[in-house]
């Protein structure tokens, strides 16, 4: 009953996800309220079915229902209850089921939160999410079925892997890891939606970044917990061993961090939209690659699962997702456009670009190192390792460079910094850091990288601490006295890098619409569009506001109930002026010129300031009428405000007259954005990375990472001189020259060795012309002697006490048998137990001299 129920739930989840995905894409192409409603319902249905399937599996685990295949695999009556609960995610199929649960939760939360927003993007996003959900449901329904029925259930099961039973981290690490990993699907869907719609509005980058941030937080915690677990349980002696599966969790983290920073630039300046989208897509694709690396069994790893049909299935999905992303990017990334300008010269913009470069470089290095053994095997057929020493050597310089960027970046302004600003910002931390490095040197540190790390780390620490306490200092300064009055006509003087005096949200709610204090007089609010040749300097508030692209509408304006419908042309003008006049744009964007003619840095915390406008702050391309409409109904986004739903409420009544026009214009925008111009650079670069990667993975699909071919075949057998078990004259290999030799490495603790012992003894008796020898591997002499006395033997067994002979022969384990020809060359190495037929055929080959 339980298996059937589970299978049914999974099939229902698959149906809901597939249908929801189709409905989502259809609604995105032809917007309709009914379509959106159904897409949402199907998303919730998918989440519900997945959750129920997980509950069913937990029920089966706790009830020890061994008729369910997964429970028969990992369940046991003799483990504590918490282990039974945690077994849900301890093994292959169960972990995919858990993946489905986490995805269901994320999709339903994201859909619910965004039910009323961004109507042109969300159906596409839901479509993409449910398509991914459909794939994982398909995996659960087909290749990785946890609910298969066992016809004659056993009374007890083996329990999960013992390594996973003895530590409480097993309870927290996988949920965190999955929350981080699977959570990357949400930003992926949002980014795909942006590409499908053909633009990335400044109000849409915010949810994209928020969901990315949530997943990123979980993934960071998971990686830290994993390192801690490795240190405690696996005895790696360190937190991170660059195991392929660990790298699989690390790669998406790297691109996600780069994407978070790049998204900040998008929010702030409207640049790098395409690049951010590329990073978000890459993050998701890396999670799929990571899950392939973990579950396909082709990588040498502590965490490796055995090979199954799951590997090829995931590879197909990876290829499909890569193709989809590449095509979408090539067609649409140009239409995302860019609204601002990156600052060149020493500024935070450049630091952000350098940071992105370093993170992408790191990703590339780790990916190359992890996949390289497969590349070599596909090309040369030889098995090689890329291990910890390689990764350590390359990641230390990158890490030190990142430390540098982390320190210098926040110290620089968003605009181009003058020499004085640079000096004031960097010199004090640098001095402190030099002291730190000198102390380190004095204490005996001689490694160059360590000294550099101390130096840059010192700068970073000081800059970060001063940033942290900056609001405190600001507040103290504010409380201390009134603001200086500013002479007419001059720009208000702000010290370099000291943040412009911020209005805190909520406290001074009405500054936005009352105007700013300037010259001791209150300036009026925006009455008419500002003229180009207006001699008055741009008021500080407005200047700050314009720099904060995408800033939320002011609480004050809404609270005061004014400015509901009036368009704000001045701010719209500010958004478009930068395109034409860089200097003026810089000024309007808030980078005012200080008295020393250098640009005054803009408050980086601008996002959180209030901005006066109610209006389309930064229209992206032609149309952000929805945002305008939101303001019109007093849609609040601040904390504590109740979100007004788009579909319901007064908006429909008030804007009824406008609606047909809106849809028409939206369609115009969509069709104009979908002009099929292919960005060749993106396409070529993407294919250059994707095709070799997929080719290498496909070529290695059947690979067994544990079988390593011996390099000794065809080479002279290494000489040895060992004493037989129980004492006696030492036997040397040279003395056996002239007849074929069979050397069998074995041990009494090895079960297959028992099985082959009889066959070997019988073969030794029937082939007197062949010299059989046993070499005992890592065993006790007395025990071996006893074993041989009981079982009888026809040939001598030698003791390899220090293991040197085993090492010389390249023994990986027991039993391994070497067949040597009369000239002393190794003809064949057989791994595993032998039977009579195998012995005879291999001896024949040894006799024939290796032919």
């Amino acid at each position: 009953m339980v298996p059937t129920l589970g299978r049914t739930l999974i099939l229902l989840a698959l149906l809901a996800a597939s249908a929801g995905s189709i409905v989502g894409f259809a609604t995105g192409a032809r917007p309709s309220a009914a379509g959106w409603k159904w897409a949402r319902r199907l998303a919730y249905a998918f989440a519900a079915f997945m959750a129920l399937a997980n509950v069913t599996m937990e029920y089966a685990l706790l009830r020890h229902d061994f008729s369910v295949s997964y429970v028969a695999h990992v369940g046991s009556r003799s483990v504590p209850t918490w282990v039974s609960i945690v077994s849900l995610w301890s093994s292959l199929e169960g972990s995919i089921l858990f993946w489905g649960l986490v995805m269901g939760v994320y999709v339903s939360v994201a859909t619910w939160r965004k039910a009323g927003d961004h109507p042109e993007y969300m159906p596409y996003a839901v479509g993409v999410w449910l398509a991914c959900g459909a794939f994982f449901s398909f995996l659960l329904a087909g290749p990785a079925q946890p609910f298969a029925t066992i016809p004659n259930p056993a009374l007890d099961g083996p329990g999960p892997n013992p390594l996973l039973q003895n530590h409480y981290l097993m309870v927290i690490h996988p949920p965190f890891l999955y929350s981080g990993y699977v959570g990357m699907t949400i930003p992926f869907g949002l980014a795909c939606a942006a590409l499908l719609v053909g633009r990335l509005g400044n109000d849409f980058i915010r949810p994209l970044r928020n969901f990315l941030l949530v997943s990123w937080i979980f993934l960071t915690c998971a990686i830290v917990l994993g390192g801690w677990w490795a240190y405690e349980v696996l005895g790696w002696g360190g937190y991170w061993a660059w195991d392929p599966v660990e790298n699989a969790s690390f790669l998406p983290w790297l691109t996600a961090t780069a994407a978070l920073h790049s998204a900040m630039l998008v929010e702030r300046k409207g640049v790098l939209k395409g690049w951010t989208v590329i990073l978000v897509l890459a993050t998701y694709l890396l999670t799929i690659l990571g899950t392939f690396m973990t579950r396909s069994g082709v990588f040498n790893s502590v965490h490796s699962f055995t090979q199954s049909a799951i590997g090829p299935t995931i590879l197909v999905f990876l290829a499909a997702a890569l193709l989809f992303s590449l095509v979408l990017l090539a067609l649409r990334v140009d239409s995302l456009g860019s609204e601002g300008r990156l600052e060149t010269g020493p500024s935070r913009d450049v630091m952000f670009l350098v940071q992105n470069l370093l993170f992408v470089l790191f990703t590339f290095t780790v990916l190359l190192g992890t996949v390289f053994p497969l590349v070599v095997e596909a090309l040369r057929g030889a098995q090689m390792s890329v291990g910890r020493p390689y990764f350590d050597k390359l990641s230390v310089p990158i890490g030190v460079a990142l430390l540098f960027v982390m320190g210098v970046g926040p110290a620089l302004p968003w605009g181009r910094a003058t020499k004085q600003q640079l000096r004031a910002a960097l010199l004090p931390p640098l001095l402190g850091a030099c002291v730190l490095a000198a102390v380190g040197f004095a204490l005996g540190v001689r490694n160059l990288w360590t000294i550099l790390a101390l130096l840059f780390g010192g700068v970073t620490a000081q800059v970060t601490l001063s940033e942290m306490f900056l609001p405190v200092r600001q507040r103290m300064r504010a409380r201390r006295g009134p603001r200086r009055s500013i002479p007419a006509g001059a720009e208000p003087r702000t010290p370099p890098f000291r943040r412009v005096h911020r209005a805190r949200r909520g406290r001074r709610g009405h500054r936005g619409d009352r105007g700013v204090e300037h010259d001791g007089k209150l300036e009026g609010g925006p009455a008419e569009p500002r003229r180009d040749d207006d001699p008055r300097p741009v008021p500080a508030d407005v200047r700050r506001c314009r720099a904060g692209i995408g800033a939320a509408p002011s609480v004050g304006a809404r609270a005061s109930g004014r400015q509901q419908e009036r368009p704000q042309p001045r701010h719209a003008a500010a958004a478009h002026e930068p395109v034409r006049e860089p200097a003026r744009a810089h000024r309007l964007a808030g980078g005012a010129h200080g008295p020393d003619r250098g640009p005054v840095p803009v408050d980086p915390q601008l996002r959180r300031t209030q901005c006066r406008p109610a209006g389309p702050d930064q229209p992206d391309g032609l149309l952000d009428l929805d945002r305008h409409r939101h303001h019109g109904v007093g849609r609040a986004r601040g904390p504590g405000a109740v979100p007004a739903r788009l579909n319901g409420g007064g908006s429909r009544d008030r804007h009824r007259g406008r609606r047909p026009g809106r849809v028409f214009l939206m369609a115009t925008a969509l069709t104009s954005a979908s002009a099929p111009r292919v960005n060749r650079r993106v396409l070529v670069a993407g294919l250059a990375i994707a095709l070799p990667l997929v080719a290498v993975l496909v070529a290695n699909l059947g690979r067994d990472p544990h079988s390593v071919r011996s390099p000794l075949i065809g080479r002279p057998a290494p000489p040895f001189r060992l004493v037989p078990v129980g004492g006696g004259a030492p036997v040397a290999l040279e003395s056996l020259h002239g007849k074929p030799v069979v050397i069998n490495f074995w041990a009494t603790w090895c079960v297959p060795c028992f099985q082959e012992h009889a066959a070997l003894v019988e073969a030794a008796r029937s082939l007197p012309a062949v010299q059989f020898l046993g070499i005992v591997y890592e065993d006790d002499e007395a025990q071996t002697g006893e074993f041989l006395r009981q079982r009888g033997t026809a040939y001598a067994s030698l003791m390899d006490k220090d293991g040197k002979t085993a090492i010389a022969y390249g023994v990986f384990g027991v039993p391994e048998t070497f067949f040597i020809d009369p000239e002393g060359r190794i003809v064949e190495k057989h791994v595993g137990p032998l039977d009579r037929g195998a012995i005879l055929s291999l001896v024949a080959r040894a006799r024939g001299g290796g032919r």
Binding site: L353, F364, V375, Q383, V386, P567, R570
Partner: protein
């Protein structure tokens, strides 16, 4: 007798696997054993080096490394020795030969390429973008001094331009002048 010993030692020195380095001892020996051990893969473990692994095989291998270092073999000789028995698989750090150049110099090449891309992006952002860029994006849209024939549509277009560009009809006074 000394002559014979001298000749013998000379022969030994000419032997192919004669130690190339200096014999080590004491703390330096321990340190070097750890270092060389960190470069060798434990064959019976999953990804651990013999310096880190508690397995018997790994301990035996580490003892052999120690012996060889004490006898004066240098790192490359020891690694080559193990490679002869176990294959390339046992070296945790890929030696720089053949296709392995790709894994060692790929990241450096990527850094250069990435740096070039960043420099190009910064240079491109410095160029005065001008109206051409805005026009490029909307090249298939009608220019701003035209209006569609349908009056309701024209009114809608004018409103949109006002919102989008901030000036009536989307044309700033400067453009009009």
């Amino acid at each position: 007798m000394t002559l014979v010993a001298f000749a013998l030692s000379g022969l030994l020195a000419l032997a192919p696997d004669a130690p190339r380095g200096q014999p080590l001892s004491g703390k330096l020996l321990d340190q070097r054993t750890d270092e060389v051990g960190a470069l060798l893969r434990c064959p019976v473990c999953q990804g651990l080096s013999i310096a880190d692994s508690p397995a018997t095989m790994a301990r035996n291998m580490k003892a052999e490394v120690r012996e060889k270092l004490a006898a004066g073999y240098d790192q490359e000789q020891i690694l080559a020795d193990f490679e002869r028995s176990y294959g390339e698989f046992v070296r945790l750090q890929p030696p720089v030969r053949g296709v392995n150049w790709l894994v060692w110099f790929g990241p450096a090449a990527m850094l250069l390429a990435g740096g070039a891309v960043v420099a190009w992006a910064l240079r491109r952002s410095q160029r005065p973008r001008g109206e051409e860029v805005a026009l490029q994006r909307h090249s298939d849209l009608p220019s701003r001094d035209t209006l569609p024939a349908d009056p309701r549509l024209a009114a809608a277009v004018r409103r949109v331009r006002m919102l989008a560009y901030g000036w009536p009809d989307g044309i700033s006074p400067k453009e009009r002048a």
